[in-house]
Point group: C2
Chain length 352, copies 2
């Protein structure tokens, strides 16, 4: 606390990211990183860009990266926005679109950063309860709102929504912005980018941190019709002219272009997710159906917190959320390599 | 314009960065980049970090980078904040400290992003006129303010302030925050970091983009007493958990540690600045005394805009500001290599 702070700073409740332990040799299944490395073409692009030109500012518009994303999704460049990780993209869109007279809506169990952005920008929100099976129930979202945001698949549950339900929401909800946060969509969801051309109030966000294996480089993006992208650019250009550095831009382009590597890694993770789900189920876990690169699972006879602590003692780190109470029994486990998943199961077998 | 924007977005006047031309072979003296490449140790650190670990998030606190900065300046780690370029650091401090009941103060001719941040966060400001010789006149800054910010040396004039004048301000102005923006201080100014231990309301910002030749990687930092840094961390952790990527952190540490390279580049730029100042003066320019890596100069017989356009036709890019009118006659010219400065002078000789 300091008398020099702006008044609201004291009341902020910052986001707490998953631990980034500095010890080596851990089986790290707590922050949904990709167990496979980035595309070799991305590493080669970094090597090529690593030289004296780092003395120069990057392209403030990162237009070559926007073009690569637009090319992949078949959308024009003026429908693409990029930022320093999708968290920065989300922060800008909360500020640029969600400061409305009415509260915004999001699920009661979801990415916990949404509430933090609301605190940062003084945005009112109302949470909407997940169904009994932990799925998002869009049909129940009230029409009178300042905006809607939800992840698809949802985090930390991993449950996906059919695109038809999202389109039904868009047909009903035309007066406010709908944001679909697709951080995990490549692992089994259907992207709403296909709907962007038809809905001027749809914005879709994605990240290079999961399916493209570049969490270490901080690249996120949004796709929406040009007036929405223009709004984001106005915020970005009033905040930081050059949010993406030269190496991130170079690696991002190469990662987006290397479709074969991307598909191979995603396919391997999906196969491992199915195997892990079966192995956990066989050990007495209830595993929510996941379309993400993690599973959300609870055991009938063991508390989530106890299991997480027991795994940790054996060098396996998973994520446990104490709140809300409804998910306190669950563990969120990132799908790792076959070896990592084997280590997880072996460690669990000593605890169950 | 979009009906889905928050209301204030329409009125934003975003910052316009200096052009980053995509043509090669230009003599680029418009954005105050370092004419010399980064430390070879920084390039080696990037090479060492360029691998599969990029799939993992960076350290959200970038604590090793903070330690390297703290080591260089002899301050504890809890007095160091880092961000994605000093523009992000400035954005966070405007939000975290300058949203006060009273207007903040800054020079009428200074870094034009300050006004943009005020627009973004709804902060009132009053500009304070530079003296007739274009120096900042801190003694005239009114006591009744919500905060004070100024660059030292000032941009785009290049004029430095003696540390004694800054300390006199701090002794007089104890009720609000004083921010010294030291983007260019290494080229001849005196850093106010030396005063941090004694003044709880002093925050000093710096960048790796100029003297450390890493504009392409986006690294900025702030030094102040722990409660101020804590306030910045609260904002940062409510905005983006991981603003600095793995390669930027690795390169930043190496660049901070390679003191010999840093000093050699800075000394060469200072020598070139003096030579360029003499050469411009000999050609009829008035050159303001600069402690930065650029000079601010006007010619008695030629308009700034005309000269900038004529130089551009010959492949030499400098920066010209149309407003405010008081500086419209000036060119801001980055100090380049001897070859670049020679090319500038040769091009000028065809125009004068």
């Amino acid at each position: 606390m300091s008398r020099y702070w702006s008044r609201f700073v004291h009341d902020l409740e910052p986001y707490v990211p998953g631990e980034q332990p500095k010890m080596a040799r851990l089986v790290k299944l707590n922050t949904n990183e990709n167990p496979f490395g980035p595309s070799p073409r991305a590493l080669a692009a970094i090597e090529a860009a690593n030289g004296d030109d780092l003395r120069l500012y990057p392209d403030p518009d990162a237009s070559a990266l926007k073009a690569a994303i637009g090319e992949y999704y078949g959308v024009p460049v003026d429908q693409v926005f990029v930022g320093n990780g999708s968290d920065e993209v989300l922060a800008h869109l909360f500020m640029g679109f969600f400061r409305q007279d009415k509260p915004i809506l999001f699920p009661d169990i979801t990415y916990s950063f949404y509430k933090v952005y609301c605190g940062l920008y003084g945005i009112e929100y109302q949470t909407q309860p997940l169904d009994d099976d932990f799925s998002i129930h869009l049909a129940a979202y009230p029409a009178d709102n300042g905006g809607i945001i939800f992840p698809n698949p949802n985090a930390p549950t991993g449950r996906p929504l059919p695109l038809a339900e999202i389109e039904a929401l868009l047909q009903r909800n035309t007066d406010s912005l709908v944001v679909v946060d697709e951080a995990y969509v490549d692992f089994g969801g259907e992207s709403a980018i296909a709907l962007v051309a038809r809905y001027p109030n749809l914005l879709v966000t994605q990240t290079f941190s999961k399916s493209r294996s570049l969490a270490g480089l901080r690249i996120g993006f949004a796709v929406g019709q040009a007036p929405l992208i223009d709004g984001l650019e106005r915020i970005k250009n009033s905040f930081n002219s050059y949010p993406l550095d030269r190496l991130a831009i170079a690696a991002g382009i190469a990662a987006m272009e290397d479709v074969a590597w991307f598909k191979q890694c995603v396919d391997a993770i999906v196969a491992e997710r199915d195997a892990l789900t079966a192995a956990l189920t066989a050990r007495g876990f209830e595993v929510l159906p996941s379309a993400a690169n993690f599973v959300f699972a609870r055991h009938a006879a063991h508390q989530g917190e106890t299991l997480a602590a027991g795994l940790r003692e054996q060098g396996v780190i998973v994520r446990h959320f104490k709140r809300p109470e409804r998910i306190a029994a669950f563990l969120r486990i990132t799908v790792g390599t076959p070896e990592q998943n084997r280590a997880l199961l072996d460690a669990l077998d000593t605890l169950l």
